[in-house]
């Protein structure tokens, strides 16, 4: 601003100076020229008069102070010259002023010196005798005078420059000051130059627009972070150079890392699978992969983000699939167990039958073989029965009749059925407790306790004990079945209630059983809303406790449960 004002005022000063000089010189020079010309003609006429009167002798004591006086004969030869020696001057007949004078009586001419620094003004006058009297005066030209004036002009220019600088800086300061004092927070409330009003209006409008845009951007950002922060999946957005643009805390939590300090996505995770999906996504392909990290496994899904057909980034979603992977493993194990349990008896049956069909079996072995076939078939039947029972418990559509059941009585009955089996292995039963009535399905309860007691015998040692304690408290009926058997190692305890799960992976036939017993117990307990707990120590025994809801309290719950399941 200062510079601009300075420049323009300097320019103005310069222009005015030039114009003044030109004007003054133009007018004054012409005026002086006329003056000189008049003087010259006066002098010439005066001299002419003198020469006419006195002849050439007039010049003998003539002393020309300023002007050069020349007398030229009518043939052009110089008769007298006040400066130079007349004899050495050449013929002047062809000089412009002389020619004019010969013709018209007088003539004027102006001649410039070679350097243009001086000019000579000549005035010639024809005398009566035909000779010519010429008076010349030498004069500086405009250029010479200008040259002479250069120094003062420069002084003036310098003075003007300093003055202009001072004034312009003061002026610009004065102009700028109110502008600097503008309150841009409220542009329209300012009292300043009228010329600024449109600008201030515009600023006010833009301020408003920016405010609105900012608010909406902030809102969007908030929505975005609300959505991403509430995702349980990890969520990353990256640009085409694989730099992080956004991520949610779930991503940090899933990968168990602190917030990365730099923007490279590799700070998040540098596993091969992760790098692969990202490079795939950034090359424009959707990529999925499974990444294992420690105990956990993650599913990675990366999608490229396109803008005008070029990839500008990618969105990566990280899912924790540890649970489902685990379930997958369980399912595979389950399938393998089922097929094993079903196939083993069938293979035996088929093998024995094949031998007998071929007629290779000696008569005395046929009975043995038949017995084996019978045993295996029985095992299959038990297994299939168990599966049916379980599926009955699973399928909630099948309804059972609930009735009050005395667990003590029921257990007595179960024990009496198992007594033979127990006696074979010299195992003693002790039933302790009193009547305890609950609401339940007799068939299922029977099945549950039979299986529990059966296990207590099967996995007991010779001459062991089975204690069954029925205990009724105010809001619970507890049934505890405690054996002194081989126990269940801690790592298996959480899984023994799974179908076909065997602690002893060899599925030993010696013990028998289908691997479904405890599964039936568990499902029965779930059906009856009973809590089930298991305590066990290897070689010390196992205790299974079932906590039922007693009859009086259970009335409503069971009926509610029943109605909800049958509807």
């Amino acid at each position: 601003m200062n510079k601009k004002i300075f420049r323009s005022s300097m320019f103005t000063v310069f222009l005015v100076l030039i114009a003044t000089i030109v004007l003054i010189f133009g007018i004054l020079f012409q005026f002086f020229e006329k003056q000189i010309q008049a003087e010259l003609s006066n002098e010439a006429e005066f001299l002419a008069l003198a020469v006419e009167n006195e002849g050439i002798t007039f010049f003998d004591d003539f002393d020309s102070k300023n002007n050069r006086v020349t007398l030229i004969d009518k043939d052009g030869s110089v008769l007298y010259d006040s400066v130079a020696d007349a004899g050495r001057l050449d013929n002047h007949a062809e000089r412009e002023e002389v020619k004019d004078a010969m013709k018209d009586g007088k003539g004027i001419s102006i001649r410039y010196s070679k350097t243009l620094t001086e000019k000579t003004m000549n005035y010639a006058l024809r005398l009566t005798n035909g000779s010519i009297l010429r008076v010349s005066t030498e004069q500086y030209t405009v250029i010479t005078i200008l040259m002479g004036m250069l120094q003062p002009i420069f002084f003036i220019m310098a003075a003007a420059m300093i003055l202009t600088f001072m004034i312009s800086s003061r002026v610009s300061r004065a102009i700028i000051e109110p502008i600097n004092r503008l309150d841009l927070e409220a542009p329209e409330n300012n009292d300043t130059y009228e010329e600024l009003t449109p600008l201030l209006k515009k600023i006010a409008e833009q301020k408003e627009t920016i405010g609105e845009q900012l608010a909406s951007a902030r809102k969007k950002q908030k929505e975005f972070s609300l959505i991403t922060e509430n995702m349980s999946e990890g969520f990353l957005v990256i640009d085409q150079d694989a730099n992080l643009l956004a991520y949610n805390t779930a991503a940090l939590k899933l990968l168990d890392i602190a917030a990365p300090s730099d923007k490279s996505v590799l700070l998040f995770c540098r596993a091969k699978e992760f790098r692969d999906v990202i490079s795939d996504a950034l090359s424009g392909k959707r990529a999925e992969n499974i990444m294992a990290r420690g105990e956990c496994s993650y599913s990675l899904i990366a999608n490229p983000v396109f803008e005008k057909e070029s990839v500008i980034g990618a969105v990566v979603v990280i899912l924790d699939i540890t649970e489902s992977e685990k379930r997958d493993v369980l399912r595979r194990e389950f399938t393998a167990n089922v097929s094993h349990e079903l196939k083993t008896p069938l293979t035996s049956i088929s093998g024995f039958a094949e031998l007998m069909k071929e007629g290779d079996v000696a008569a005395e072995y046929v009975i043995d073989f038949s017995k084996s076939i019978y045993d295996e078939a029985q095992r299959l039947i038990t297994l299939v029965n168990d599966i049916i029972k379980l599926s009955e418990l699973d399928g909630e559509s099948i309804s059972f009749e609930s009735e009050p059941v005395d667990l003590y009585e029921l257990l007595q009955e179960v024990i009496s059925r198992l007594e033979n089996e127990a006696a074979k292995r010299k195992i003693a039963f002790h039933l302790i407790g009193d009547r305890a009535v609950i609401t339940g399905v007799r068939k299922i309860l029977d099945e549950m306790f039979y299986n529990l007691c059966d296990n207590a015998i099967k996995y007991n040692r010779e001459g062991g004990m089975v204690d069954i304690i029925v205990n009724q408290t105010k809001d619970e009926v507890n049934v505890m079945v405690r054996d002194t058997g081989i126990g269940i190692p801690a790592e298996h305890q959480s899984r023994v209630f799974e179908r076909f799960y065997r602690v002893d992976k060899s599925h030993s036939k010696k013990v028998g059983g289908t691997g479904l017993g405890l599964a039936i117990v568990k499902h029965g307990a779930v059906y009856h809303h009973a809590k089930i707990s298991l305590e066990s120590a290897v070689d010390a025994g196992t205790t299974v406790t079932l906590a039922f809801v007693p009859y009086r309290l259970s009335n409503t719950t069971v009926s509610f449960f029943r109605s909800s399941t049958t509807s």
Binding site: D241, S261, S264, R270, K272, R275
Partner: protein, 228 residues
């Protein structure tokens, strides 16, 4: 101009992390092949080694370009020069991992691994490599110092393995070829541990600009007996 410089620096960082991750893959693959006899891991390791070699050249070019075109100073220059040194250590880790894979088949066939501490050594080495890369990724002095200290563990395990092998030879009922191979593998692990330690030292250097801490510990380590 500076913008480009920043971009190149962050590219250098990413490339280094990738190269580090490849080192982890190479050594993990080699160890898995050695202990679990899984053919697939052998290729994982060899493949990672090839990529590591390529990355080394890429990063080297990038570093030289950075130095020539951007003339980095102070911390930036330290990062670039540390990167140049680090990649040669990483490259050695990749090479030695693939060397292990090349020696391994005989031992894998014979199954002579179980009696020695080489498994522990492998695990300790993987941990060191992984943590040295971690210290770089997080620019963490603490992890870097831990790595440097951890090298003592690997060195100790090497001595142990050596003693075990000597004992085996003295008993005279072992397969000589397998024993020599085992010794070499153990030595490779020990070397990889040293390289991981170097990486950690470079991380410390690029953060603090000083080698002192690394030198101190190295001095202590040299006093340990049985170091070849």
């Amino acid at each position: 101009m500076r913008n480009k410089f920043d971009r190149q620096l962050s590219q250098l960082n990413s490339e280094l992390i990738t190269m580090g991750a490849l080192c982890e893959e190479a050594i993990t693959g080699a160890v898995k092949y050695l202990t679990d006899n899984d053919e697939k891991n052998k290729n994982v390791c060899l493949d990672a080694d090839r990529q590591i070699d390529k990355k080394e050249r890429d990063i080297e070019t990038l570093c030289l370009k950075l130095i020539l075109q951007q003339q980095p100073v102070a911390g930036d220059l330290r990062i670039v020069s540390a990167a140049l040194k680090m990649i040669s250590d990483m490259e050695r880790i990749g090479d030695q991992a693939s060397d292990i894979v090349e020696i391994a088949p005989y031992i894998v066939q014979k199954g002579t691994l179980g009696e020695t501490h080489i498994r522990e050594m492998a695990e300790a080495t993987i941990k060191m490599v992984s943590e040295s890369i971690d210290s770089f990724v997080k620019m963490n002095l603490e992890i870097a110092s831990l790595v440097i200290e951890h090298d003592n563990v690997v060195d100790g395990l090497f001595d142990k393995v050596k003693q075990e092998l000597i004992k085996s030879i003295e008993m005279g009922h072992s397969d000589a070829e397998a024993l020599l191979d085992l010794l070499m593998i153990a030595k490779y692990f020990e070397r990889i541990g040293d390289h991981a330690e170097n990486i950690a030292e470079w991380v410390i250097y690029s953060i603090t600009g000083e080698h002192r801490k690394g030198l101190e510990i190295r001095g202590k380590r040299n006093d340990l007996p049985g170091r070849g």
